[in-house]
Each structure stands twice: as C-alpha cells, then as structure tokens.
Amino acid sequence: MFFRRAGISHTRYRDERQIWPLPIDRYTVFLIAALLLAAPFLIDRLYVVSYLLPLIIWSTAALGLNLLMGGAGQIHLGYGAVIGIGAYSSVHMLRAGVPFELAMIGGGLAAAAIGSIFGAVAMRVKGLYLAMATLAMQYIVDFVIIQFPAISGGTQASLPVPPTSFLGFPVEGDRVPYYVALVICGIVTLFMLNVRRTAFGRALAAVREKDYAAAIIGVDPFRFKLLAFWVSSFIGGLTGAVLSVCYYRTIAPEQFHLDLSIQLVAMVIVGGLGSVLGVFFGVALILFAPILLNQAVALLADQFGMNLPMDLRAHLPLMLYGGLIMGFLLIEPLGLAKIRNNIRNYFLVWPFRHSRQ
C-alpha cells in the first residue's frame, strides 16, 4: 500500500511504457483477476448472478462506447440500438443452428455494419448535433424491431434463446455464462488498454482533440471516425450476443430502448471519459446505486420505525441516485476515475505530502 514507488527506477523506456509500470499495480491486477475467476466458488451465487455478471457485461458494452466517446470524442445516443442489433442477429443465428462462437461474431459484424452506416451519415455533424443523429438511429432501429414480428418474435415479442454451448461447455446454470462473459470482457479490456498505444489509438486521440488539426498532420478524420464507429459497434454487437445468451435468456425490444443508451452514456461519463478503469466504476455506480439505495432506505425505514409515506419511500432512492450523480460531478467533474487517481496519488507518496507534484 505505502511506499510503492520506493526503489523502482526504470532504466529502459520500454519498462516505463508498460501498462502497469509499478509492480504493486501488476500484483493488484493479478489478484483481482484471480478473485474474479474464483468468485463463483467463493461468494454466494446471488452476488455472482445478479451483481458480478451484469457488471461485467455492462462494462464490456461501456468500454465499446468509451472508445467512441472518450477515444474519438463522438457522442453516441443510440448505443442501446447497436447492442440490440447484435442481440437480435445473434439470437436469430442461434435459432437457425449457428454455433454460439460464430453467432457472437456474426452479431458483432451485423451491428458494426449497421452502426457504421449510421456513423457515416452522422459524420457531417458534431457535438450535440451528432447526439441527435444517433438518437434518430435509436428510434429507427426500435421501430424496425417492433414492427417486424419476424424479428421480434411474434405477438408476444419475446425471443427465447435456445440452449447453446461455448467452446464445448453448455452455457447454462450460473457458472458457465459468468465465465463466458468474463472471457469476452477480459479480451475487450485488454484491447482497450492497448489500443491507446497503437497508431490507431493515437490517430483517434488526434481526431478527438481537433479533427481539422488532425487532418493537417495527415490523419484522415473521416476514415478514423468511421473506424471508431465500426470497432465500437462491433464490440456493442458482441456484447449484445453475450447479454442475451448469458444474462437475459429471453430478449424483448424494451431491453434495448433509449433508456439503455442513456444509461451507458451516463456510465461512461460518470466513470470518466476515456478511462478504462473509470468505466468499471461508472458501471458499478449507475447499475447498483439504485438497488443498494433502495435496500438501504428500506432497511433504515424498518429499523428506525420511520413511517414514511409509500410514495416518498419509493422515490427516495431515485432522488439520492440523481443527487449522487450530481454530487460526484460537482466534487470531481472528471469522473470517478479521477477521484480514484487522486486517492492513489495521495497514497503513493504518503506520508510525504510535499513530494506530490
């Protein structure tokens, strides 16, 4: 915990450019990875199935969106629709007998194809205007899913996911879906950590900072914005497949509505734009704050015998949740990742505060 920097001096540039230059960070990452792998055997299934699993899946999706928003600086208000395209195409492929591994890729490709068409259309506009163009995509995709029973699955509008297997393991019960989601999330996370160090990542950063300036130094903004849309939609589609097979097991149009898009944007922003770790914090806050606040309010009301009117008691968590988002942004507008960095920097040199930059 303390004096983590003591005695560490990098002698090669290579060493300093590692993703985790400090050994203590590497150990922490290994420890967390090991804990995540062992989680189904360590903790109650309730926490695996209804906390860890959605955390992992939503984080995968939010990482994809983060590449677009934090990496390339493009707002996307239709990411829920992208996930929906991936979910519906992969489930239809599964029902047609395609193996899950291929259906997952297929869902990703379908989402990437449609997502980058909308991306190309939206290329002319920026900022809030882009947000509006992508919002339009959300409405159009919603409309298509609901209006065609062949897609949505008849009047009941719910499409059960057939039993399937991943690399030979049947995806059922509590553990296999968790590991499938964890593997996908791990791959996406590693990709995101490394993408910033590639030419592609640097080009995106240039486009994000100022697309005209990027054009002047020879980075084609159109090409890289489109690529960013393609990659992030692919990840969205992939997550859609994982989400429907490992978590929902029955998919319905409501699951991919505007609410999901806004939720994901909120996760990325509250976590901290562009930060990989922040995404996980943001997802945890937005996903679990309402649940935990609800339980806390119920518990306090019961234990202290507060006879709150039902309406107030039901809406108090919503209020606290909104207040929490506002509070975090007021305290630290750069998001949870920045708060975490502040804490980390504090302890890196603790107790020698004066040595902080």
Partner: protein
C-alpha cells in the same frame, strides 16, 4: 384521403408543434447564454406543473389564474437557484460533464416531486372546455388551439426579449464569457436570469401539457421531443425553434394520418427522426443555428 382530414391534421399538427416549441425555447434560452444543453428541461416542466397543482386544487386552493403566475415566480427562483448551487460551480468544466449534471438533476427532480407530492396522476384543470369546436367542417381542439396560441405568444415575447438591452447582454455572454466580463457585464447574473426565465417558461409548457394528460412524472418525457426540435432549429436560435416546432408538428401529424394506415404502426417518431437527420445532413447547424467557426 379527404382534404378536410388533412387540413384538420395540419392545423392540429401546427399547434401541437408550437406547444413542443415552447419547451424547446426554454432549452435554447439556456444554451444561448451558457452553451449547455439542459437535459432537465422536461423535469422543470414537470416541476412547474406540480407547483401549479399544489398551489391550486390540491394544496392552497388558489384560483388557477393566480396559481400559474405565482408558480412561474416560484419556478424562476428555482431555476436561478439551480444555476447558483450547481451550474455555477461547473463553469470552465468540459461541456459533456455539465450536460451529465443536468441529467442527474433530471433524475433528482423526477424522484423529488412524485416522492413528496404523490406519484399518482393529478388533475390540472385550466378551464378550457373539452367540448368540440367546429369551424365549418373542421374540428379544432380548443385546448390545442389555446395551448399553441399561448406558446406562440411566449416565444414571440422571448424574441422581443433578445432584442432588448438585456437580450444584448445575453448575446454578448453567449459570444464570449471572458470578453463580456472584461467590459463589465455580470456574466453570472445573466446566466442565472436565463435559467430563471427558462424555468418559468417550462412551467407554462408543463401546465399546457398537464391540462391534457394530467400531472405526473411523464411530463418530463417532453425533453426528448424538445431536444429534437431545438437541434433541428439550431440550438441558439429562437426563430429556428419556432419554425422547427411547426415543421416537426406538421410532419408528425401528417405521418400519423397518411403513413400509419399504410405501414400499420406508429411512424410518428421515425418520420420526425428521418426529417431531423436529413436536415442535419444538409445544414449541420440546424435550420437557423449560427455556423460555428473552428480554428485550429
């Protein structure tokens, strides 16, 4: 498809569009002074409607003609207060964070008002009779007619405001906050007033919509449509909002009348979306928005 029906749909569409434009005008007011898209505009409309209900029927029992102006005063204070407590601390922060803050505010208000005043739908009677009004063959709904008229009047009023001394101050602030500061304009006060006025306008739209649908949290859903109209018109143009409102209202009404029977589904939002995307492709800054000059 007969002409009378089309005419009727057109008239309804235009006036409903005006009512949407009023919500959007509040957003433009804030955007023009501080460059923030206020995602809590729908929630402010809901708050205003709740305040009116509390002042009128359910709470103090004031007559409606007294309750609405009083609520507008209260909401002016609320709007200015929000600016003072939350937004002012965010000056200089990335715009996207500030927008997110307004989304947090939206969630907060949506919890606060139904929580305190009750979640069930509340009746808001502003004394417009529901009885049908026939102009020859043409049926026009009084509520929509009056709502559209009031909205038009308020929007015109805010155009006038922008040409007054105070409007010039606001335009200066929106052009360049630092420069305005240096010539002695009180930037914070201008932004606070913009928030106050916007909240008061939101109250009116909350009342107009609440009179038809009742008052509950769903009034905050006005946000999405208002955002679409504001962006179509150009986020910094009140005239643009007026025209965009009419265009969207008309298009939606016509789509419902002509396309729905052919497609067999509600095409309203989709048609509106397509119109917005196409317009943005042709004019990326909205119909009347100012072109933003970017410098490297």
């Amino acid at each position: 498809m007969d002409v009378i029906l089309l005419l009727e749909l057109a008239v309804n569409g235009i006036f409903v569009g005006l009512m949407y434009a009023l919500v959007a005008a509040g957003m433009v007011l804030i955007y023009k002074t501080s460059g923030i898209a206020n995602l809590a505009q729908g929630a402010l409309a809901m708050t205003g409607a709740y305040v009116v209900v509390m002042l009128a029927s359910a709470g103090l029992g004031l007559p409606i003609w007294a309750a609405v102006p009083l609520a507008m005063v209260v909401m002016f204070a609320v709007g200015a207060g929000i600016e003072r407590l939350a937004l002012r601390r965010m000056i200089g922060q990335p715009v996207i964070m500030v927008i997110m803050l307004t989304l947090g505010l939206e969630i907060f208000l949506r919890g606060l008002l139904p929580g305190v005043f009750g979640a069930s739908v509340k009746r808001l009677d502003i004394g417009i009779p529901n009885a049908p009004l026939f102009l020859g063959e043409l049926l026009v709904s009084r509520a929509i007619l009056i709502g559209g008229g009031v909205s038009l009047a308020l929007i015109l009023l805010s155009i006038l405001l922008f040409n007054s001394r105070f409007g010039i101050i606001m335009r200066a602030v929106s052009d360049n906050q630092t420069a305005s500061w240096s010539v002695g304009i009180r930037v914070e006060r201008a932004i606070a007033v913009a928030w106050g006025l916007s909240a008061a306008m939101a109250t009116t739209s909350g009342v107009l919509w609440g009179a038809t649908q009742g008052v509950d949290w769903s009034l905050s859903l006005l946000l999405i449509k208002a955002l679409a109209i504001a962006i179509l018109g150009g986020l910094d143009s009140i005239v643009g909002v007026l025209i965009a409102g009419v265009v969207v209202g008309l298009a939606e009404s016509m789509a419902t009348g002509i396309l729905d029977p052919i497609v067999g589904g509600g095409t309203r939002d989709v048609v509106a979306s397509v119109i917005i995307v196409v317009t943005l492709l042709v004019r990326p800054h909205g119909l009347f928005g100012r072109e933003h000059i970017e410098r490297v």
